[in-house]
Symmetry: C2
Subunit: 137 residues, 2 copies
């Protein structure tokens, strides 16, 4: 499976990386945003589970490789400029964020101009899930 | 209104830019992704309409400045790493994409590994809307 077949232009992103947004395929909530290089994209499209490229660790990672909270890919959408991706996913474990919230976007700016947490509770306890592993993945 | 109040770390993005995802606040469809520098973010938060930073033109742009299809900001969400933004917006004109489709993500990878258009029709005709102006904004 060749990435160029899908007309994604990885050269448009910084360091060959394009943003990939994971969205819950039923609730349509945005779960997280990360980056993909061509290899991560091809693995994602082939295996139908999400792989990203870590800018901090400079390597490919499989979402959920530490936590077990993998993302099963239901649909892959490509944008008009061919430099951004949306993954519609089934989030295993119900939580995408390493903090334990279901979404990384668990805070909003309120009318007073302050950040407030909008989620009722964490889905899991990070201290338990990431006990002996990287807390990032 | 100061950006640092919201704890967004613009230094984490390439060239001081962080990704900003515009999502329809009622349908929850992802409309587009663009980038913000601190100035674009402060203007967006203050005026409650979306401003982005164009990497190609190297300047701030108000979404809809050419087309009239501005984005009225209903909520601003910040991610766990403090380097990504979701705007829940009311999309004026019903279309975010310069191609005329309501969303920039109007194509998906089908089961045969090919891109296919998933939208029934364009909301507007780009040749009419952008007749004498930049087709980007």
């Amino acid at each position: 499976m060749q990435a160029d077949k899908y007309q994604i232009d990885f050269t448009k992103g910084e360091n060959g990386l394009v943003p990939a947004i994971a969205q819950d395929w039923t609730s349509r909530e945005i779960l997280m945003i990360a980056y993909m290089n061509e290899e991560a994209f091809v693995k994602t499209a082939s295996e139908r589970v999400a792989y990203y490229f870590s800018r901090s660790k400079q390597r490919i990672w499989k979402k959920g490789e530490s936590s077990g909270h993998i993302q099963i890919v239901k649909e892959i959408l490509i944008d008009c400029d061919q430099d951004a991706i949306v993954l519609l996913v089934e989030q295993v474990g119900k939580a995408a964020c390493h903090t334990g919230y279901n979404s990384c976007f668990y805070r909003r700016l309120n009318n007073s101009g302050e950040l407030e947490i909008i989620k009722n509770e964490k889905v899991f306890d990070p201290e338990t899930v990431y006990k002996n592993t990287s807390k990032d993945f």
